[in-house]
């Protein structure tokens, strides 16, 4: 049974279609890059799958059941700039938020949850910053805190919105390492991504998106010059053939 099946998702803002008939199905343990130009609806797709914005129609199934019934299996890493980093809290506290689903409504975190949060901070190399106020972290460190939070959530399917934006090289490396570790553990990860140069290195599958699905499948066979041209409307000229094997 595939961990994620998306059927004919359509989204409209003010009666204008921004996503049309998006369908795809992801096998277990794959890293999937969602690629497309600005305004292609990459983030919108993620938000629509997670019910932040209403879908005009379409269904999202997680391990065979509607997403609404399987929330606990899904982890989400929002864009870093979607939260206020001046919020009075520290790195450990943010990671602990990943445990809230396990702790249950209205209950307090247990020691066990704190231990898990600490381990997750350690995995992304942020243990020394556990008690640091989040506004005093660099952009890359903030992103790592978000990833540690996703780890703490211990989900089966992860949605990550542009995790590589504005991070330093060390963080980029840490994220890639983490993605591979998740994959090893049989997790399925969808990543909204904008850097075409790294697609082949990072992802097993790609979803080329421009309001509709241009192509979906294994990176090897789908990430071709033709498909990319089609997705970007012929505006991609800077890629050398080493990055795309057509």
């Amino acid at each position: 049974m595939n961990p994620l099946v998306v059927e004919q998702v359509t989204v409209a803002y003010d009666r204008q279609l921004v996503l049309e008939d998006v369908s795809f199905s992801v096998p277990e343990g794959k890293l999937v890059g969602i690629i497309g130009p600005n305004g292609a609806g990459k983030s919108t797709l993620m938000k629509a799958m997670l019910n932040f914005i209403p879908r005009m129609h379409g269904n999202v199934f997680v391990y065979g059941k509607p997403y609404e019934k399987q929330r606990h299996l899904v982890g989400y890493v929002p864009q870093r700039n979607s939260v206020d980093w001046d919020f009075p809290t520290n790195a450990l506290d943010v990671v602990l938020m990943g445990r809230y689903g396990h702790i249950g409504l209205w209950k307090r975190p247990r020691k066990e949850d704190v231990d898990i949060a600490m381990q997750c901070l350690d995995k992304v190399g942020m243990l020394p910053y556990a008690k640091r106020q989040i506004s005093q972290l660099s952009g890359g460190q903030q992103q790592r805190v978000f990833l540690a939070r996703a780890l703490a959530q211990d989900a089966s399917v992860y949605f990550m919105d542009e995790p590589f934006v504005g991070v330093d090289a060390a963080t980029e490396k840490a994220i890639v390492q983490l993605l591979n570790e998740l994959k090893m553990r049989g997790k399925t990860v969808l990543v909204v991504h904008h850097d075409l140069q790294t697609v082949r290195d990072y992802f097993d599958y790609v979803l080329l998106l421009n309001k509709r699905v241009v192509a979906f499948g294994e990176t090897e066979s789908v990430f071709t010059y033709d498909h990319i041209q089609k997705t970007y409307g012929g505006k991609v000229t800077f890629l050398s053939s080493t990055h795309i094997v057509g």
Binding site: N51, P78, V83, D84, P88, P109, Q133
Partner: protein
């Protein structure tokens, strides 16, 4: 002497209530919604009077709660229909407040309730309006009302601390975790309505905004922990109440006015000397030694 104690206790309770609720308003960037609700609850109070012919107690709380939630709902609705959120706030609360004003003027000759009282409050009268049980005075009504609302506020914050925290920090993440963010939003607005109406008598609609926002904004300068910010904000509210009352008696000026001025003074002092972001420290660092 007990007169002073009652007034100080009233101001203290207002300070704690407003400090606690205000913290979440500041963090959720909804300060101006408190301005809206503090005005529109006037309609709730008048409405409650029309139904129950009483100006205090449970009916007033319910009236304020309903109108407070109505305000929140209408603001949200207009915003969804494409009106800018600050404009939506401006439209909704002025309309509801104005309806309240019109209704008051309709009943003006029959009820002790006037617009000035609602806007400015009169804490000096609080000790004389006592609650009686079996002919025995058990203290001012305002104290009981504020105490009751404080119990609700503390209960909700303790009970739903982590839910309030995550839905304030990262709403989308909260949604994916199945946390009822909409419910929490309305509960918070309900707490705000209750707090506002309970504080109404003492500090009035305008100054309750000062008590809600200024101590919380000040606490934000002093700490980077939510729990500490809550305590700090309530403490600053109490401090401002005490300083304001002493200032008011010393110079024989409006008590609620003096309390609000005190919050402002504490804020500006904090802006300079708070350890986290104090302008003074930045200034000293910048100037050559």
């Amino acid at each position: 002497m007990s007169y002073t104690i009652w007034i100080l206790l009233t101001a203290t309770l207002v300070g704690i209530n407003c400090g606690l609720v205000g913290t979440f308003l500041v963090l959720r960037k909804m300060s101006m919604l408190s301005d809206a609700i503090s005005h529109s609850v006037l309609l709730g109070i008048v409405g409650a009077y029309m139904v129950s012919h009483q100006l205090q107690g449970v009916s007033m709380l319910i009236g304020a709660l309903l109108v407070g939630l109505l305000t929140t709902f209408l603001v949200q609705l207009l915003h969804q229909k494409g009106v800018q959120s600050d404009a939506a706030i401006g439209v909704v609360f002025t309309c509801l407040f104005a309806i309240g004003v019109v209704l008051i003027s309709l009943f003006a000759d029959r009820v002790h309730l006037d617009v000035e009282h609602a806007l400015m409050g009169e804490i000096a009268f609080v000790p004389w309006d006592v609650l009686e049980v079996c002919g025995q005075s058990i203290g001012p009504k305002a104290i009981w009302l504020l105490g009751f609302v404080l119990a609700i506020n503390i209960f909700v914050i303790v009970f739903a601390y982590k839910e309030l925290k995550i839905s304030s920090f990262d709403r989308e993440m909260a949604i994916t975790l199945g946390i009822p963010v909409v419910l929490i939003h309305y509960v918070l607005m309900g707490m705000l309505s209750l707090t506002t109406v309970a504080s109404f008598d003492s500090v009035g609609a305008i100054l309750v905004v000062a008590m809600l926002i200024v101590p919380s904004a000040t606490a934000y300068l002093w700490t980077d922990r939510l729990s500490v910010m809550l305590i700090c904000s309530a403490t600053i509210g109490v401090l401002a109440s005490a300083i304001g009352y002493m200032g008011a008696t010393a110079f024989n000026v409006s008590i609620s006015g003096a309390i609000a001025v005190s919050t402002g003074v504490i804020f500006f002092v904090s802006l300079w000397i708070a350890p986290k972001s104090g302008l003074l420290w930045k200034w000293i660092k910048k100037s050559p030694a």
